[in-house]
């Protein structure tokens, strides 16, 4: 099952299971159905359960919050993460605080699905991740699944969670295939996932950079180096324990942000490791260049982390040598993507 189909499957299961679940957002009932993730839900479940909205992100978020406090479980879908900036008032000032302000009497079981864009010229305003922006706010949960299995399980958990959940998908992942059970299952928040075991270095990725990390791990095998790759999966709450255990073993850590490094998730992880745990370890961070994302292909390519960059840095950290250039590895998600959106 593909990542997109896994989202569709989770949504269908929940629409069937709970009559209070509904899906809304710009274009959710159009012929493309948000990359297939909401395809034909309006036909299967009716226009009250899946409907298009006017182009007004702030107010539609408020509508979702209002419906959520009335006891429904809305799923609000955005074509790009960047458009959530129009809804920040509702997310930060309202959704995240209502439970606290009411001292627990109200809750906001709202899922906000947002898709990070990348590649083929998405440019400055269709490419942002902004993971740490949301993780900064108490009262929000932030989830960024990478695999089809995880996206389905965490989406079901998100829909059943009683808090606002920022559910972050990645445009480059929708076509990826994986083994996904047909039925209902949940994946607990606050748990990251070890995707490959290794003893030489710990590489932590999130969202799409997990794919880069896995590719880097493959490159390092050429030098017989074994990387332990962790998919962060749950950004807030953060699963620091798995990273602690891994770094105690490897003594080396690379965190690959799917975002700018500045004030990011990697800074948070490193701070927690340093503050609380007495581990001696070496650490490096990789992420977006600290510029807006350029549109033209050659610049865009160097804007992002790559498996080669991760592998080279890993090799240098482990061997203290600078005498290896990994071969090029094909990231099919990126190279095969020809838009248009």
């Amino acid at each position: 099952m593909s990542y997109a189909d896994a989202i569709l499957s989770a949504t269908k299961i929940m629409l069937k299971k709970n009559k209070d679940v509904f899906v809304f957002g710009q274009g959710v009932d159009d012929p493309k159905g948000h990359y297939g993730t909401t395809l034909n839900l309006h036909k299967d479940f009716g226009n009250n359960r899946c409907f298009d909205t006017p182009i007004c992100e702030e107010s539609m978020t408020g509508v979702g919050i209002g419906a959520a406090i009335a006891g429904m479980s809305p799923i609000l879908v955005h074509q790009r993460m960047d458009f959530l900036m129009l809804a920040m008032n509702q997310i930060v000032n309202m959704a995240s605080k209502i439970h606290y302000i009411s001292d627990g009497k109200l809750c906001v079981p709202l899922v906000i699905r947002a898709c990070i864009g990348r590649s083929w010229g998405q440019g400055a305003q269709h490419s942002q991740s902004l993971l740490s922006v949301f993780a900064h706010i108490p009262g929000l949960k932030v989830i960024a699944p990478t695999t089809p299995y995880d996206v389905k399980g965490t989406l079901i958990t998100a829909i059943e969670d009683k808090n606002p959940v920022i559910f972050i998908e990645h445009r480059m992942l929708y076509k990826n295939q994986g083994l996904v059970p047909e039925g209902y299952y949940k994946i607990e928040f606050g748990k990251s996932r070890i995707l490959s075991k290794g003893s030489d270095i710990t590489i932590v990725g999130m969202s799409f950079t997990v794919v880069d990390c896995i590719n880097a791990k493959k490159l390092l095998l050429e030098k017989s180096l074994k990387a332990e790759v962790i998919d962060l999966l749950s950004i807030q709450p953060l699963d620091i324990n798995k990273i602690v255990i891994s770094v105690k073993k490897t003594k080396r850590l690379i965190i690959v942000e799917n975002d700018w490094i500045n004030c990011g998730i990697s800074a948070e992880i490193i701070s927690r490791l340093v503050e609380k745990y007495k581990i001696k370890f070496e650490v490096k961070r990789i992420g977006y260049l600290f510029t807006p994302c350029p549109t033209t292909a050659p610049l865009e390519k160097s804007f992002y982390p790559s498996p080669e960059k991760i592998a080279t840095l890993s090799y240098e950290m482990i061997t203290k040598k600078k005498n290896w250039t990994p071969k090029k590895i094909k990231t099919k998600e990126i190279e095969e993507f020809k838009g248009p959106f």
Binding site: E58, S59, V63, G66, N89, S102, D103, K105
Partner: protein, 316 residues
Amino acid sequence: MTIKKFNYAKAYYLFKKIRSTEEKIIEIYESDVIKSPVHLSLGQESIAVGIALASNKKKDIVFSNYRSHAHFIAHGGDYKKMWAELFGKESGLSSGKAGSMHLGDLDINFIFTSAIVGSAISEAVGYALALKLKKLNSRVICYHGEGAMDQGTFWESLNFSALKKLPILFVCENNHLAIYSEQKKRMKTLNICKKVESFGVRSIKIEDNSTKNIFKYAHKALQGIGKNSQPVFLEINTYREVDHVGTNYDFELGYRKKDKQQLLKNLNELNYLKEKTKNFLQVEKKISKEISDALNYSYKSNFPKIKHIESNVTKE
């Protein structure tokens, strides 16, 4: 459909209670027992009273804003807990975590308010959407100022409510002021109702502060909303007596002149309701007792325990 009759004694009780409450807040504010901003409703009482008397206390859902004391009292929110909340005590509505700007009481479906101008309007609309989807025969009452209509989100929300035919009554309390900025400094066209009508929402303008008049229009509007599931918009002219925030008069700032006529008009309305209330002395006595009981309760209550700071950030 039952036609409600305007109850003068109830109206006088609520109007007087709101006024006495605000006056008591002014009286004790300097003693610093209320350590947070208050936005007083003095001058705007008749709106809350008229609307509340027209509403169905059991079924209707109320969304207000940071200037909510009048709404809260008129709709029958827990009075002692309101005071305790102002005092920041653990016996308050939100154990002191909310204060005057975020009052709420779910026993009367009064949703905890927001201090960001216009931010709860889309939520009120979302709540109305939920009522419709759940096929519940309730209505949402959404109070806001004309200042909130400077925000894009008001018009976005209005459009959506019309588009989806949602059961919501917008109550615009037009005091013509956003802090110290007059409406005409902020809007090119002042005919609010005309603008609202252009969105396909029926609108009614009420020029004066007659509680009975407001009750009549609101009652009719609410009945229509229940029957047809359509939004209705009420614009009610009003006058803010004191400063935007805090407890002082603000006339000496020079941005507006003291409008003695307006001030008198509000007192006249209160006196009119009093004249129509046979046992007004008893009503006044009752209010005095409620205030002193609530103050005793609030003074005696404890502050929340420090460990409580971390509770209810997220729901388990």
